[in-house]
Amino acid sequence: MATTIHEPPQIDSERLPGHGKGGWKDLSPADGDLRVVQEYSPPPSSTAIWVVIFGVTMMFAAFSSALIVRKGSSYDWQSFTLPSILYLNTFVLLLSSVSLEIARRRIATFMGGLKNHVGQPNTQNPSRWLYITLALGLLFVAGQYVAWRQLAAQGLYLATNPSSSFFYVLTAVHALHVLGGLGGLLYCLRRLSKSTLRRNTLVATARYWHFMGVLWVYLIVLLWIKL
């Protein structure tokens, strides 16, 4: 019983709606934990998302070290001012993390059948905040595109200078990973519409999304210092 790949909807007994604890972890109605011999193990999706985060971290560590070595290896490095829209993009991406947290709580309350803060049954569409997160994520990617256009308007293209090369590479690879996160959000929305969303799926997606925000803050600091 320990190794179901598609684990069934489950909920810890102490977090059943009847206990009144609710919270963001109560995403699915209780149906018994069929992985009774696995009580000591985290769900694979939880481990997997940390594995993914580690892999992406290593990838950007490689890019970062390449930037530092490349800058120090010659005198052709030209500094330039980062497009100001990047700071707005940063705000948008961090805001999307907040909206995703709200979405997680709303969905947990909805799926747990709990009452809202004024004591009424929660009938709000729980996917609304997920859509808001999705829109903010798309806005971030669009903002990055605007930043690239602004740089191009200044005559800074991919091959113009190593500094611009690294700017385009780092921001583009990050944007691709953000698009992956948007794909995860769409998957959650689809599962939510069918009432088959699992707690672990949303938790893993959210962890990845927050990591994208943290990674972007690191990147913009790195670019600000090094460019």
């Binding site: 190794t3 290593m58 990838m59």
Partner: protein, 594 residues
């Protein structure tokens, strides 16, 4: 007597079509076999390329019949040009390192047996697992496609050093599209391995059945887990490096090409790139890659020796820690590949020290094997012979590593055949012996039939003697100053060495033919071999607790419960001198009796 709990939560449905069962399969066992088949094809392609190279080195002017059909420009009249020699050498190294030594012991055997050994139905993300194989398959096709582009494959060696890898066709045949295909192939390979690592790590940590604590995992499972952690770290670094090289080619960036570089009489438009940057990124991957190839072999050999020694390992826990130490230290030593790159001598010392330190866990592993074997009544079969051969190669190749770890000696021996002999023994042949040992040992479980033992033993002795005949003289060649990657030996001091090269070539041809015996044995046994029982080796781990071959869900709708450590041999139980991990029977172990 096995303890299996009834599984009431079976969520798999077996595939119903040929495509879903054999091609785009989600079953880890089918994916493991697909990886094995890919590695098998790659191994014979790589071996064939080495034959061509060896024949050319021994008899440089003699035409090789039909070679002109492979490349009219590279081998006019069947005699290969120096550039074409380098292209074949590059492809040989790339195919062997990536698509054989990484693919077979880790991805093939690991995919098939890791879920079974932890008691799982499958990997937790079977779609990613399927993608992992097919991305790797596409990577192989992309690499092979470079044989069929106008300039042929890249000639830059499997290390693809900059700036040769970034300047384009002006650097020679294959340095344009050939390099791009190489980088694309290896970039895809990285994606495949990252997806594989994701599944291996989560399977090991999250899908263990009841009673299967970490220390009850078989040594193979530990080896695959440690390797997947290494792969996750190493391939995530190589992939960005490949992306940057492709951009240098197609977008005109200057990541790796220095300024003022004049090639072929023309000034290159790049500015200020760092050639050493590539070496740092590559070897940060490249040295752990050595252990990605060998650590699964350490696990496989230990697993097989234990089943044939019929006793417990001297210290299983120490062996696990040693494999972990090898993995961690492998990231601290990569600079020893760059001693002659002009690095600060203090940096060289900093890389030399951990390189010597890493021999400590490697030595501990060998000592554990040796003392465990001492006094045991080893069952001699093809699998145990290849396991012993692995130890022999690992030690022989490892000893020369002591010399290369020291900058003052390495400067003299760098880029000579001494290095080629060293890494072929310790990494390539040892890993290949691990693959052969695993094949002879697990073939009954994978195919449901036994392999032919006499043919296996002939295969072993020819390979064992042949490998030493090929690679030990390489050390002599290196000490005589024979630089690697030369396509011909025209200098006076190299002329006397040609007879050694001829000896090596003859040995390589004979050893290569021995591998055809293995291929015949594999194919013949698959269809006409003696049917295998569920546990032909009287082994104890979970793969031997299930049917042969295992059912679609591995344990026939049940899940095992684990009661024992993985290697309870030399005990008195109701079935013999061993007790299965799944048996609730209480037995006294050798140590308890002591």
């Amino acid at each position: 007597m096995h303890d299996m709990s009834v599984n009431t939560a079976h969520h798999h449905s077996p595939p119903t079509t040929f495509i879903s069962k054999h091609v785009f399969s989600l079953d880890h066992k089918v994916i493991g076999k697909q990886y094995f088949a890919l590695a098998l094809v790659a191994a014979y392609v790589g071996m064939f390329l080495s034959w061509l190279m060896r024949i050319h080195l021994a008899w440089g002017d003699a035409p090789i019949p039909g070679l002109q059909l492979l490349s009219a420009n590279g081998a006019p009249g069947g005699v290969m040009t120096p550039e074409y020699y380098l292209q074949l050498m590059t492809m040989h190294g790339t195919i062997m390192v990536f698509f054989v030594l990484t693919t077979a012991p880790f991805a093939a055997f690991g995919n098939f047996f890791l879920p079974i050994q932890v008691g799982a139905e499958d990997m937790p993300f079977p779609h990613f697992n399927m993608m992992s194989f097919w991305v790797t398959f596409v990577a192989f096709i992309v690499l092979m496609a470079s044989f069929f582009v106008p300039d042929g494959p890249t000639l830059g060696g499997w290390t693809q050093y900059a700036p040769l890898n970034s300047v384009g066709p002006v650097a020679g045949p294959g340095q344009g599209l050939g390099v791009i295909l190489w980088m694309a192939s290896i970039g895809l390979f990285c994606v495949g391995q990252l997806l594989g690592s994701l599944n291996f790590i989560t399977t090991t940590l999250d899908l263990r059945v009841k009673g299967m604590s970490l220390m009850r995992l078989p040594l193979t499972a530990w080896a695959w887990f440690i390797t997947s952690c290494m792969g996750l770290t190493a391939f995530a670094v190589l992939m960005p490096a490949c992306i940057l090289v492709i951009l240098d080619h197609v977008a005109g960036t200057s990541f790796f090409v220095t300024s003022g570089l004049n090639m072929g009489g023309q000034m290159l438009p790049h500015s200020g790139g760092s050639t050493l940057l590539w070496q740092h990124l590559f070897w940060f991957f490249g040295h752990p890659e050595v252990y990605i190839a060998i650590v699964p072999g350490i696990g496989i050999v230990s697993h097989i020796l234990l089943a044939n020694m019929r006793r417990q390992m001297l210290s299983q826990r120490t062996l696990i820690y040693s494999m972990g130490a090898l993995a961690i230290l492998s990231y601290m030593v990569y600079g020893h590949h760059m001693f002659v790159s002009g690095m600060n001598p203090f940096s060289a010392l900093a890389f030399s020290f951990p390189t010597l330190v890493i021999t400590i866990p490697a030595t501990i592993v060998v000592l554990i094997w040796t003392f465990s074997l001492y006094g045991s009544k080893l069952r001699i079969n093809s699998a145990s012979l290849f396991a012993l051969g692995f130890i022999s190669m690992f030690v022989s190749g490892g000893v020369s590593g002591f010399f290369l770890a020291q900058p003052s000696i390495d400067i003299m021996l760098h880029a000579t055949y001494f290095v080629v002999g060293h890494f072929h023994l310790v990494m390539a042949v040892a890993a290949m012996f691990g693959i052969f040992a695993g094949t002879y040992f697990w073939f009954p479980k994978m195919a449901g039939r036994m392999m032919n033992e006499p043919l296996g033993k002939i295969h072993f002795w020819l390979s064992f003697v042949g490998a030493y005949c090929i690679f030990m003289p390489f050390h002599y060649l290196g000490m005589a100053g024979n630089v690697r990657r030369y396509a011909a030996f025209v200098d006076d001091y190299l002329q006397p060495l040609i007879s050694v090269h001829r000896f090596i070539t003859v040995a390589a041809l004979i050893t290569g033919f021995a591998q055809l015996i293995f291929l015949y044995n594999l194919i013949h046994s698959r269809f006409w071999g003696k049917p295998a029982t569920d546990n032909p080796w009287e082994a104890t781990s979970l793969e031997w607790s299930t049917a042969t071959p295992p059912p679609f869900d591995n344990f026939g709708g049940k899940h095992p419960i684990v009661y024992h450590d993985p290697y309870q041999y030399n005990v008195q139980s109701s079935v013999g001198d061993y007790v299965m991990q799944t048996s609730p029977e209480q037995v006294k172990t050798e140590r308890e009796e002591l």
